[in-house]
C-alpha cells in the first residue's frame, strides 16, 4: 500500500492540492471510497488517494484531528475542526493537540487508557475554541501506523448543546429539589403500585409522627398502616388511581402534642393521560386549626350572647308592653269615667300594674347586672361548703316538708366562681326541688359531682313531681314561665339561674320524668 505523506507538514490547502481543478475532476470521476480497494491502483490512483483523503477531510463536518503519537502534533484536520474551533486550518496544523484541550489532565488519562486498550470510544473531554470557550465533546481515538510512525485519529462529537440541556435539566431538578426539601408541606411520590418513589423531609417527619417509623424508597404504602386500616386506605386510594383527588383532615397526637394535618392524594398522569402513580401531600395545619377552633369558640360565644340579647329584648318588649298597654287602657277609662267608685277601682288596678311594672324592671335589672358583672373577681370556692350553706338557709322549708338532703360532694372540690352567683344558683335549685316535692313519698334531694376533663359537673337530683321535658324543655328556663300552677311560682328563678350559669361560661341541663323526679346538671367550666 502506498502510504500517505503524513510525515510531510502541510501549511495550507494549496500545499496539499496544487491543482484544485484536478481534484474537482477526480471527484467527478466517482473515485472508489474504500481505501483498501485501492492497493492495486496505478500511481495515479495512489496519488489520488492522498488527495482524496484531503478532500474528504476538507468537507467532512465531523471534527477529526490526526496527530502524531510521539508528540501530539496535529498533522491533519477535517473541516469540522475548523467549524468547532472557529480557527483556520493553517493556524492549527503543526500545533500540539494539548493546545485545544481544556482539561489536559483528563486528556492524559484518556491517552493512558488508549495505550492500554489500543482505541478509545466516546470519552468525555472538553476542548477550547479560539475564543477560549470550552466545548464539551466525546472523543474516539484510533491508532494507525504510517511509515513506521504511529498516528492517532481523534474523532470528536460536539455534545455541548446536549450538555447545556443536561445542565439546565439538572439545575431545574436541583431547584425543584430545593423547593421540595424546604417546603412546609410533606410530599411522598408513589408509583401506580403504591411503592414510594420519592419523598421530602417534612414527609419523613409526618411519617414519624403518624406511623412512628421512617419512610424508605421502594416500600409499599400499605406497610405503614396497621392491618385494620388497610381496607379503609384502599377505599381512599381507589378513586385516586382512577384520576380523582381525595383529601381529608387528620388529627395526630405525638409525644403528647396535638397535630392537625391536611392530607391530599393527587393522581400523577403519564404522557398518555393514564395514572402512573400519585402524590400524597400532608400539610401541618395545626396553627390554622387552633385559630379555627378559637374562632369557632368566639363565634359560638358571640352567637350565644346574641341569642341571649335577642331573648332579653323579646322579654323586655313583651313584659313592658304588657304593663304599658294595661296602663293605657286604665287611663283611657279613667278619663271617661264619671263614677267616683269606678275611678277608685281603676286606680287600684293602676297601682297594681305599676307595682308589676316595677317588679318586672327589677327582674330585668337583675339580668342586666349578671351581664355587667361578668368581669367581677372570681374566687376559689369550696362547693361542699356552699351546698351546706344553701341547706342551712332553707332549713325551715326542708324541715317543714321532711326533706332528706344528701350532700355527697367531696369536701375538697373547689371551683373558680362568683360567690353571689354560686349561692343564688344553689339556693334556686334546692328551693325548686323542695317546692316541687311529691306529696306521695318522702322527698329526697341529692348533690353529687363528676369531674370531667377540666370541668366539674354538679348533679342536683330529686324524687319530686317531675316535669314533662318533651313539652316544656324549650320554655323551662324562660322568664315568667311556670308549669305546675304553683301559686308561689313566679317563673323568674330558673331564668336568672340559667343567665348566671351562662354568664360564667358554664351550662345547665335538665333531665326529668313526671312523677319520678328531676335532675339538673350544672357544668362549671
Amino acid at each position: 500500500m502506498k502510504s500517505l505523506h503524513l510525515n510531510k507538514q502541510y501549511s495550507s490547502d494549496d500545499d496539499l492540492f496544487q491543482n484544485k481543478s484536478d481534484l474537482q475532476l477526480k471527484l467527478d470521476q466517482q473515485i472508489p471510497i474504500c481505501l483498501d480497494d485501492l492497493s492495486n491502483e496505478t500511481d495515479f490512483s495512489i496519488q489520488n488517494h492522498e488527495q482524496l483523503l484531503h478532500s474528504i477531510l476538507n468537507f467532512l463536518p465531523v471534527p477529526l484531528i490526526i496527530t502524531r503519537q510521539k508528540n501530539g502534533q496535529i498533522v491533519m484536520i477535517s473541516q469540522g475542526v475548523e467549524n468547532i474551533l472557529q480557527i483556520k486550518k493553517a493556524a492549527i496544523i503543526g500545533k500540539n493537540i494539548d493546545e485545544i484541550i481544556a482539561d489536559k489532565t483528563e486528556f492524559s488519562k484518556i491517552l493512558l487508557l488508549l495505550d492500554a486498550k489500543g482505541k478509545i470510544q466516546n470519552e468525555e473531554i472538553c476542548i477550547r475554541n479560539v475564543h477560549g470557550v470550552n466545548i464539551s465533546c466525546l472523543v474516539s481515538i484510533e491508532t494507525f501506523i504510517s511509515n513506521g510512525e504511529c498516528f492517532y485519529i481523534n474523532a470528536f462529537t460536539n455534545i455541548s448543546e446536549k450538555k447545556l440541556l443536561e445542565d439546565a435539566i439538572q439545575n431545574s431538578e436541583d431547584n425543584l429539589r430545593t423547593v421540595f426539601e424546604n417546603t412546609e408541606v410533606g410530599y411522598i411520590l408513589f408509583d401506580q403500585f403504591q411503592y414510594i418513589v420519592s419523598y421530602n423531609r417534612p414527609a419523613s417527619l409526618f411519617a414519624i409522627k403518624e406511623f412512628n417509623k421512617e419512610i424508605h424508597i421502594g416500600t409499599n404504602f400499605s406497610t405503614y398502616f396497621p392491618e385494620i386500616m388497610r381496607e379503609y386506605l384502599t377505599n381512599i386510594i381507589a378513586p385516586v388511581l382512577k384520576g380523582k383527588i381525595t383529601s381529608f383532615e387528620r388529627f395526630i397526637i405525638h409525644n403528647g402534642e396535638h397535630h392537625w394535618y391536611y392530607v391530599k392524594f393527587s393522581p400523577v398522569f403519564n404522557k398518555d393521560y393514564l395514572v402512573a402513580g400519585f402524590i400524597m401531600s400532608m400539610e401541618n395545619i395545626t396553627d390554622r386549626k387552633k385559630n379555627e377552633i378559637e374562632l369557632n369558640k368566639s363565634l359560638n360565644l358571640v352567637t350565644e350572647q346574641n341569642k341571649r340579647l335577642l331573648n332579653f329584648s323579646y322579654i323586655v318588649s313583651h313584659n313592658l308592653r304588657s304593663h304599658a298597654s294595661n296602663m293605657i287602657s286604665i287611663l283611657n277609662f279613667l278619663e271617661k269615667e264619671k263614677s267616683e267608685n269606678e275611678k277608685a277601682g281603676l286606680l287600684i288596678h293602676l297601682k297594681k300594674v305599676s307595682q308589676l311594672l316595677n317588679e318586672t324592671l327589677y327582674n330585668l335589672n337583675e339580668v342586666v347586672s349578671i351581664q355587667k358583672n361578668l368581669n367581677t373577681t372570681l374566687e376559689r370556692l369550696n362547693l361542699f361548703d356552699y351546698i351546706n350553706q344553701a341547706i342551712s338557709v332553707l332549713n325551715k322549708e326542708i324541715n317543714s316538708k321532711n326533706v332528706l338532703v344528701n350532700n355527697q360532694v367531696p369536701n375538697d372540690i373547689t371551683i373558680n366562681y362568683n360567690p353571689a352567683y354560686l349561692e343564688s344558683i344553689l339556693l334556686n335549685f334546692l328551693s325548686n326541688s323542695i317546692k316541687y316535692a311529691s306529696p306521695e313519698r318522702l322527698p329526697i334531694i341529692n348533690f353529687n359531682t363528676i369531674q370531667k376533663n377540666n370541668a366539674i359537673e354538679l348533679f342536683i337530683s330529686d324524687n319530686g313531681i317531675g316535669i314533662d321535658i318533651s313539652k316544656y324543655h324549650d320554655r323551662l328556663f324562660g322568664m315568667y314561665k311556670t308549669f305546675h300552677g304553683n301559686k308561689d311560682a313566679r317563673g323568674i328563678g330558673l331564668f336568672i339561674t340559667k343567665n348566671q350559669i351562662d354568664a360564667m361560661g358554664g351550662k345547665v341541663e335538665v333531665f326529668s320524668e313526671v312523677n319520678v323526679g328531676t335532675t339538673f346538671k350544672i357544668t362549671f367550666s
Partner: protein, 131 residues
C-alpha cells in the same frame, strides 16, 4: 255575634281580663264572658262543655305567653276537641308580643282569624265582635 254566645278570654293577665270585661260593658255588649288564666284550665272547661252538650263559646280571645299551657299548645289541643264540631269558632290572638316569629307562627293555624297586639282599641274589639 249572637247575644247568647259566650265570649272566651284566655290570658294570664288578670288586669287585662278586667279591662276587656269593662270595655265590653262600655260597648253595651252583655254576652257572657268566661275567662281562664292559662290554656290548660280553658281546655278542661271547654271539654266539659262539649261533654255536657253545652254550646262552645262564640269567640275566643287567646294570649300566647301563659304558664302551664301556652296559647300555641292550647290551639293544638283545642283543634282535636273541636274537630267534630261543624261550627268553626273564630279565634283571635291577643298578645303583648310583637315578635315577628309569633306573628308568622299564628299564620300556620287556620283557626286564627287575626293577630292583635295589646292594647286592643275599643273599635277593633267592636269590629271583631260584630261579625
Amino acid at each position: 255575634m249572637k247575644e247568647n254566645e259566650k265570649i272566651c278570654i284566655i290570658d294570664d293577665d288578670e288586669i287585662y281580663i278586667f279591662l276587656i270585661k269593662k270595655s265590653l260593658s262600655a260597648m253595651g255588649i252583655n254576652n257572657e264572658v268566661i275567662s281562664y288564666l292559662n290554656g290548660s284550665d280553658a281546655l278542661e272547661e271547654l271539654m266539659q262543655f262539649k261533654n255536657n252538650n253545652q254550646e262552645l263559646p262564640g269567640i275566643i280571645l287567646l294570649d300566647i305567653n301563659m304558664p302551664i299551657m301556652d296559647g300555641w299548645e292550647f290551639l293544638t289541643e283545642f283543634r282535636k276537641l273541636n274537630s267534630t264540631n261543624t261550627k268553626k269558632i273564630p279565634i283571635y290572638i291577643v298578645s303583648s308580643s310583637i315578635a315577628n316569629e309569633d306573628f308568622e307562627k299564628s299564620k300556620t293555624f287556620p283557626e286564627i282569624l287575626d293577630y292583635l297586639s295589646k292594647p286592643v282599641e275599643l273599635e277593633t274589639l267592636e269590629k271583631i265582635l260584630n261579625f
